[in-house]
Amino acid sequence: MRRVQVRKTHKLFIGGAFPRSESGRTLVVEGANVARASRKDLRDAVRIARQAGAGWSGATAYNRGQVLYRLAEMMEARRGALAAACRGKDEVDRAIDRVVWYAGWADKLAQVIGSANAVAGPYFNFTVPEPTGVVGIVAPAEPALLGLVSRLAPPLVGGNTVVVIASDAHPIAAVELAECVATADVPPGVVNILTGLRGELAPWLAGHMDVAGLDLAGADGDAAELERLGAENVKRIVRGKADEQSPYEIAAFLELKTVWHPVGF
């Protein structure tokens, strides 16, 4: 029997939903119509990410790790679609492995990055890592999927919520990843992914007073200007590498809080 194939509409991912851009605009990239987010979409995404922050940063480390493992499961289930959106199966495999690698860090961060400090007095003195807040990510163009995952997973496992501006050149990988995130028990609003024109969105993200951290992995000529904009509220700014895997990537978006506590008897 003949049937009409249902074709995918590539939309934004904000607050766990897949809306079109409020502006109604689209772009043709990689042979597909992709939503072109406006600065209002960005504003909404940041507001929602902030609201989601309390729940995600308050979740237990174990829970955050499990959610990331589940993200890896969902990516595994959508291997075909992901592979079509990037260089192929190898890249998908490495991206999935990277998510699993970071998932394992969720309940080890405090031990490795934090410390129990020696002080001269009857006190315990601890340094504990806490999430920075809303982290904006300007995703790198290449490798489309692995680069995005490498930038997304570290702030996420640390308990931050993220707003991603997908790369201009390869937004489909980001849209496909959003499909995985949406079914991976990641609470709504913790990950928000916008497609569109980086040059149009990134300055608003960098200047936003409610964004606490900024990863400029995908910025090139405009990186200095974005850093200048981000300086107004002293954002943590990282020029991340597209293919990096290290606990220090997580630490980049953690705040170290030191607390004193009297020694008990």
Binding site: R43, G207, H208, M209, D210, N233
Partner: protein
């Protein structure tokens, strides 16, 4: 029944037998128009004007059981100078508090032009003996409140005892006369229908209200755009028929700058620019102020703002 001020043709006293037959409000048309007006695009200069007006017309409100003189003092200070970093931001119209906190609010606002409004008449239910309610009005007027927000007795209204509702407004009006402005809260969320809203609005106006106000902010349903439009149209009908000017106050659930602008658009389209002044229009709110300040600072700096950089009270 006491003698009423002027009412539109066909609404002459006695109201009681007439009110149930006042005709009905076209609910579908009303909601449609309220929705259409809420979609007006207000940007740039017009937006800044609207936000500035929303602050000037704001009754900055705190009506919590946990209110203390210290909290009210902080709120009043904020009302006088909402954004200390920007002298261009105007003061609010009034600080709205519970009766016992009127002196605390007055202490901080004296000499600033910011008025003090107090709720009264067994707010928010209005279910108390008339004498008790009038005594409360008397007390807040004696303490120096410039404005009194009274509630109607919805129990009486809904049982059809319109004359009782009317008389209470008249009596409260007598107590306030010459000393304080009287705002009458209809608590539209408990009235059920737009017909009832219009009836209650006419009753309050007939009773001598200076302002009619949508809600207490304590009911499940607060101010909505259609209800506010219904009340504005009642005010317009009274004005066109008799020339009498009645003010309007929306309250409850207005937390975002965008909502405030939507309400102001309604006023402009229904009653015209003459009502776009704090003397004739008020917005009762608390968290709305910070959202407006954030919008104004965004217009000034070109950056989206963070609530953490604004004072809480």
């Amino acid at each position: 029944m006491a003698t009423a001020p002027a009412l539109p043709g066909g609404f002459e006293l006695p109201l009681e037998p007439r009110l149930p037959r006042l005709g009905s409000v076209d609910a579908v048309g009303l909601e449609e128009r309220a929705l259409a007006l809420s979609r007006r695009s207000i940007k740039k200069g017009a937006k800044v004007f609207a936000l500035d007006l929303a602050i000037r017309a704001m009754d900055l409100t705190t009506l919590e059981g946990a209110d203390t003189p210290g909290k009210v003092g902080a709120l009043a200070t904020k009302g006088v100078r909402p954004d200390p970093s920007d002298p261009g931001v105007p003061s609010v119209a009034a600080i709205c508090v519970y009766p016992n906190l009127v002196p605390a609010a007055l202490a901080r606002t004296r000499g600033t032009g910011v008025k003090v409004a107090s709720v009264a008449t067994a707010f928010p239910s209005g279910q108390a003996p008339l004498e008790v309610k009038l005594e409360e009005v008397r007390a807040v007027v004696a303490m120096g409140a410039h404005e009194v927000d009274m509630v109607i007795d919805r129990g009486a209204f809904l049982s059809g005892r319109y004359a009782q509702v009317y008389d209470e407004v008249v009596r409260a009006r007598e107590v306030c006369a010459g000393k304080a402005h009287l705002k009458v809260i209809l608590e539209t969320g408990e009235l059920g229908t737009y017909d009832n809203v219009r009836r209650a609005a006419l009753l309050a106006i007939a009773g001598g209200a200076d302002f009619i106000k949508t809600s207490t902010g304590k009911a499940a349903t607060n101010a909505t755009l259609p209800v506010a439009l219904c009340m504005l149209e009642t005010i317009r009908d009274v004005y066109e028929d008799t020339g009498r000017v009645v003010g309007m106050k929306v309250a409850g659930g207005i937390r975002q700058a965008k909502q405030a602008v939507q309400y102001l658009v309604q006023v402009h389209e229904t009653l015209g620019v003459a009502w776009l002044t704090p003397d004739r229009y008020r917005i009762g709110a608390s968290s709305l102020l910070n959202d407006i300040l954030m919008q104004l600072r965004k217009e000034r700096t070109g950056r989206y703002q963070n609530p953490d950089y604004f004072t809480v009270d």
